[in-house]
Amino acid sequence: MMKPAIQIQNLTKTFKHWANRPTSIKTLLIDALKGRFHLGEKHEFCVLKNINLEIHEGEFIGIMGGNGAGKSTLLKLISGIYTPSSGRVKVHAAIAPLIELGAGFQGDLSGYENIFLNAAILGFGRKATRDALPFILEFSELGEKIEMPIKHYSSGMLVRLGFSIAAHLDAPIMLCDEVLAVGDAGFQEKCLKKIKALHEEGRTIILITHGGEAVRSFCKRCIVISDQKVVFDGAVEEGVNTYMRIVKK
């Protein structure tokens, strides 16, 4: 009996945008003097409508969809960056939101100091970070360069550090964007292998993907989002086909 890790019930997310809203005190004053007071016209933009999903512990799920379909929005709703317009998101364990690697990285500080900063931003505590430290340092292959200010790092080095931190902090649920596994070919392979290993340890992994090798080799379940709904939820091969059909239309 698989325990649910994330339960999404009747989730709807609508973004409100006020066109011609006064964005300055000057405009507000002018309006007030003229005796009218308006907040602009409301435009509503529904990204997700009545989504129902249950994700179980230990699953490895690939989320696919065209640009702007709502994949990132869904991840942000799960991780708590956005709040639902209606419906609920129930999360039963700690989440490592890896929507962007190296969030909060500060150029003037060394790689070492940034490990603590980034870990704290991702929601980890002092002890968890200290425990993970030797693994992070080893995996990043940065060696002595870890003491350098990261403004001197190449983009590849930044990715290696960012991914290293994300991969070794102990969170039962990981939300990632496939775009993360970058860097040179050698490191890409290392990243994907690490994600696979994390999954085998029992973590729940949700990966935003665009149908690459990663999905086919690792994911057991594929969810395709289109038109504010989940249009497919099942086996990977068919999911990828559905996705291809949608984007190529």
């Binding site: 964005t23 300055s24 991780s79 960056i81 929507i99 003037d108 704290a120 931003i121 970070t129």
Partner: protein, 269 residues
């Protein structure tokens, strides 16, 4: 009431102005700010002190030497006021832009928006605390009879922090909606400076207008700091009550702003 007890009371209302449970993150962000400030240049650490000292010296020269203002221990008077006002002005201005300015991070990682004004106020408070010995030194050198009233300094600092943080959080939230506040705030802070008895003494104001002075949340605070660090005396109980009252008002106001304008800010930037 400690900050912890206060936070527990606010929790059921969905308000978390002190970012409970985020100690490690707050510590890291404050250290990051301090490291960046102090490492950037050789004069980095000194600069935080040099600017207010230079300002104080200029005011001293203009008001004491040129205009021949007669106030005892004027150097200590000016230095105290300028250091405290510097904390206020910097926290309000930096704090106002701190939520919008960190939009990148806020849209990628789930952290409470109020953490940025909070960390900003804490960073500046640390800087003020570090420069506090200088205030004491200037007072002693000016011959101020510092006494047991110094024991009230922590109380004053706590209220200074509370009022300033509440205001900077309010501005930060309102700034999300009204961006031209950026241009206006500079002028407001300037005028506010003159509305606070920093370079002048409250006794220089005709008695029938003194109440106007107290419409400024910082007046009673600055006056109390002066009373302790420049006169070596105890502040008037009425000043203390005024300070506590302003702390309550500004804090409560910031809670209302948080509740009605400050929810789901990330979607509104």
């Amino acid at each position: 009431m400690t900050f912890q007890e206060l936070s527990r009371v606010l929790q059921p209302f969905g308000l978390d102005p002190f970012c409970v449970g985020k100690k490690f993150l707050i510590f890291n962000l404050v250290s990051k700010n301090l490291k960046v400030k102090y490492r950037k240049s050789a004069l980095g650490a000194l600069w935080t002190l040099l600017v207010p000292i230079a300002m104080a010296l200029v005011y001293y020269f203009v008001f004491k030497v040129i205009l021949k203002v007669q106030l005892p221990h004027y150097l200590a008077f000016i230095v105290t006021g300028i250091f405290i006002w510097n904390f206020v002005a910097m926290t309000l201005l930096e704090g106002m832009e701190s939520i919008v300015g960190n939009w990148g991070l806020l849209s990628k990682v789930p952290i409470p928006t109020q953490i940025f004004p909070y960390v900003g106020a804490l960073t500046n408070l640390v800087n003020l605390a570090i420069s506090f010995p200088i205030l004491i030194a200037v007072s002693l050198l000016s011959g101020v009879p510092l006494g047991p009233s110094l024991i009230l300094i922590p109380f004053l600092f706590i209220n200074l922090f509370l009022i300033t943080y509440s205001l900077s959080l309010t501005f930060a939230i309102v700034f999300v909606y009204l961006r031209d506040l950026r241009h206006i705030m500079g002028i407001i802070i300037q005028l506010w400076f003159y509305a606070t008895p920093v370079i002048y003494n409250e006794s220089m104001i005709p008695p029938k207008y003194t109440w106007i002075l107290y419409l400024n949340p910082y007046s009673a605070l600055i006056i109390s700091f002066h009373r302790i660090l420049v006169d070596g005396k105890w502040p008037n109980p009425s000043e203390i009550i005024t300070i506590a009252m302003w702390s309550f008002i500004t804090f409560f106001f910031s809670l209302m702003i948080q509740k009605f304008l400050g929810q789901q800010l990330i979607e509104k930037i």
